[in-house]
Symmetry: C2
Subunit: 347 residues, 2 copies
């Protein structure tokens, strides 16, 4: 066994440079930061070579740890994913996913169109043995603190990849979420729960009741039973499993509450500018509420279920968030997340 201090294996992350609200520059800057900060990480930038070269020119980076792969097309945020991928065979997200599948890189990071990312992975990656459907997970802040790092974050999945999840899918999502929480959040024994309309084991639609039963019998998983909507912001569980329909509604509701809070904060700033002491306080109070309702501050959302890693950074990501998504992806590769998921599935 090697000592902990030995140099880690080099890992290459493919970045879909053309996605994201802030254009290629911000993704390139994120990858450039990564190349300077973490010697064992390499970045493979996929997208329009001229744009990438122009962005690299103005940014400090380590030339030997950054490579570029040209792709002539890209998917816009507003495009319908299936149509866009069919019409644009050389779209950066497709090319990047293919390069990862072929082993040119070990993981994929994109801040682009989520649906296109999921479809590109579905096309080029393989599902882990025992997994029937992939899940999009979201890391969001809660009132409670979690794991060794005392993280204020919980994981909820699926939030939109699999709208109609079966009991078997819900079990798989639970196992995938637990594996991710162990590896990325350093939470050695995460508390996993099913989202339902009551805490009793028989509450909920048949798929949830059946998943509850199966999870109670799944070894190596700390299943704490059903949680309710009230437990989402509280952070009662470290991992919450649900179908993509209800998960998506919940996640967007958190976003809606956050927007409401932001508007109230703006209103308060405007109306009461003279009250400096009060302003400071109001701002600190609202700051905490904002944190609890801002699910975006944590950078990347993993797509779980494939043999390769895909971290979806938020569209609004700046360079810092892109670099963080790259680090999370590298960690998932180094700790072999896919294997850990496969081993956690009930046999």
């Amino acid at each position: 066994m090697q000592p902990e201090s030995s140099a880690p294996e080099p890992i290459t992350i493919a970045f879909d440079v053309m996605g994201g609200d802030h254009g290629p520059e911000e993704v390139v800057r994120g990858a450039a930061q990564l190349s300077l900060e973490t010697p064992h990480l390499h970045a493979l930038l996929v997208g329009d070579r001229a744009l990438i070269d122009a962005a690299l020119e103005g940014t400090r980076h380590s030339g030997e740890r950054i490579a570029v792969h040209h792709a002539s097309q890209w998917v816009e945020m507003s495009e319908k994913p299936s149509l866009a991928l069919a019409q644009k065979p050389d779209a950066s997200i497709s090319v990047a996913a293919r390069l990862v599948a072929e082993g040119e890189a070990q993981a994929l990071v994109s801040a682009g169109n989520t649906g296109a990312g999921v479809l590109a992975c579905a096309k080029h990656f393989k599902l882990i043995r025992g997994i029937r459907r992939a899940a999009l997970a979201a890391v969001y802040p809660t009132q409670a603190l979690h794991g060794q790092k005392q993280d204020p974050f919980s994981l909820i999945l699926d939030v939109g990849a699999t709208v109609d999840a079966t009991a078997e899918d819900l079990v798989a999502f639970s196992v995938m979420g637990a594996a991710y929480s162990k590896i990325i959040s350093k939470n050695p024994d995460p508390a996993v729960a099913l989202l339902s309309n009551g805490t009793e084991p028989r509450k909920g639609p048949p798929r949830v009741v059946e998943a509850h039963e199966r999870l109670s019998r799944t070894p190596g998983l700390r299943f704490i039973g059903n949680v309710e909507g009230v437990d989402i912001p509280k952070g009662t569980a470290d991992v919450i499993a649900c179908d993509g329909f209800v998960g998506n509604v919940c996640l967007k509701m958190l976003e809606g509450i956050h927007e409401t809070v932001l508007e109230l904060a703006r209103y308060a700033y405007k109306e009461k500018l003279l009250w400096r002491a009060g302003l400071a306080m109001l701002s600190s109070g609202i700051e905490r509420i904002k944190q609890v309702t801002d699910w975006e501050q944590y950078g990347g959302a993993p797509i779980l279920g494939f043999d390769r890693i895909f971290i979806k950074a938020h569209g609004r990501s700046r360079a810092r968030a892109i670099a963080n998504a790259g680090k999370v992806a590298a960690k998932a590769v180094a700790k072999d997340l896919a294997r850990s998921i496969e081993q956690g599935l009930p046999s």
Copy 2:
């Protein structure tokens, strides 16, 4: 046609006195208030006669507008509804529902066990023709203002009565919500939406896609299409229809956010007691956030779909909220809500 100023028809409301967190006293006080304030309303108090008489003795009320019907049993908040009703044939909620069905009163108000209330109605009331399943609706505060009264409230249904709703149920819920909004919220043309994981008509599980299609063809209904989770706190629609599973999770999530805000407010009070100016501001800012997240301030949640009216007041209701629930129930009776629902259903 009679002029508006003529005396309204007398209406009797049956109150299940034994439910609620604050005991019979609070429900009796609410009914007593009603008897003094609104001459055309009569209250039929159902529960333990000795307890009711004791509560009435200490409360100002109009004796000629209050009657008592003894019931020797009652359902606790924590009891399993179906079991409790089976074991307690003389439970106050069952007796009250039966009295309404028999015409002794025109509507039912209870602050007790919600499930027991729904089951008692299902047993004694009839479903409106064309309605397959009942729905529990919740009125909750939003950022936007609604209707003629410029109400800051929207209606979401179902929030727990029908966990597995079909497309047909979702259409019925939409019609029922619109009728309620017209009659109770004085919103002559309420905007009705389906909750989904995207605004496009084909987004969501098959039941939602099919309901979307049917609602687009339903005359007399202002269907604005799908809304997402972000639209719940915003108040984009006046009425949001969804199945009882996702509706329950959303409603409880609002409750969870509200609790988080309350805790932050308590924390701020404790930590910064000296900053008086700031405190006042913080409290006004937090007050607005509390309003937007407090779905309970509006008293009663109607159970829709039956030929008789049932208003479920929150367990924590005080006398004022009970009296308000009685007024809402009376309004629904006077305007013949059930007929309005039946007429709104697609033929």
